[in-house]
Assembly symmetry: C2
Amino acid sequence: MKKKTLSLAKVYTLLESGPVILVTTARSGKQNVMPMSWHTMMEFEPPLVGLIISDQNYSFKLLKTSKECVINIPTVRIAEKVVACGNIHGDKINKFEEVGLTPQNASVVSAPLIDECFANLECRVVDTKMVAKYCFFVVEVVQAWIDPAVKNPQTLHHIGKENFMVAGKRIRIKSKMK
Amino acid sequence: MKKKTLSLAKVYTLLESGPVILVTTARSGKQNVMPMSWHTMMEFEPPLVGLIISDQNYSFKLLKTSKECVINIPTVRIAEKVVACGNIHGDKINKFEEVGLTPQNASVVSAPLIDECFANLECRVVDTKMVAKYCFFVVEVVQAWIDPAVKNPQTLHHIGKENFMVAGKRIRIKSKMK
């Protein structure tokens, strides 16, 4: 995909609707990727995002030590690959090769972008005070990329176990909300 | 709506897809309701939810002092009312009357359920350590209600300003995810 940088002020529009995201991490030549849905916007600009990443996951260790990650946003087009990433463990297997996703160099962080995702948010961990108790990381988006060719992305939204909802129609309602 | 109790173990299936929620609060005879999208699941059971509620909102004050709220989940059927709640301030106006939403007594907390929402989650604040810095409240769902007549609810998902995505088709993908 041919991506452009996205204004950091617009990052919230990608995340607040609750898409499944693929979080990539890297350290000492090892890379990993995991799908997850437990995230929230925390501030508009600079964009802060809260991520719950269980300490049972290999990504927890990579994120905690490297303090960097990329939030990659997939669409239904690669839904099978997204789910496959959650069904295997990354400590022994190279998930990118196993699943068929293409890692690309990020511009600011060491974790890779996923080429097949229409948006990529390079992040640095800025607060770990709630990691011990809740596995909750606060990250700052420092660089954002988007494929301008993807209009109305059909994001995936997890609704438990094998069930996903796909983003439906867009509507406009007169609002003062940001 | 005629609602039944919902197992607390299933609460995450309602929230992790990122619906717009209506948070109700109450204190000293005053009630308020606000729409918001910055929330995340934090634990399966007992269900913990993280909520970002700006200290610029009247609801912040009510939540901070009462330490209780209800997370009400609307569908596109009442989208105009949901947005209207975000366009007026609750400190001087009774939003329920102004917008046309029906408050009902909750079973455990003092904040009201909204009858027109297909799901209602009664919550107690359990952690305020990140309120001063991020306006981030950790709440525990202590009682959950759902209208079993609503299948595949057409939840609203905010994508910035006047734009909303409506929940689309459901798909199943073989997954080990919870």
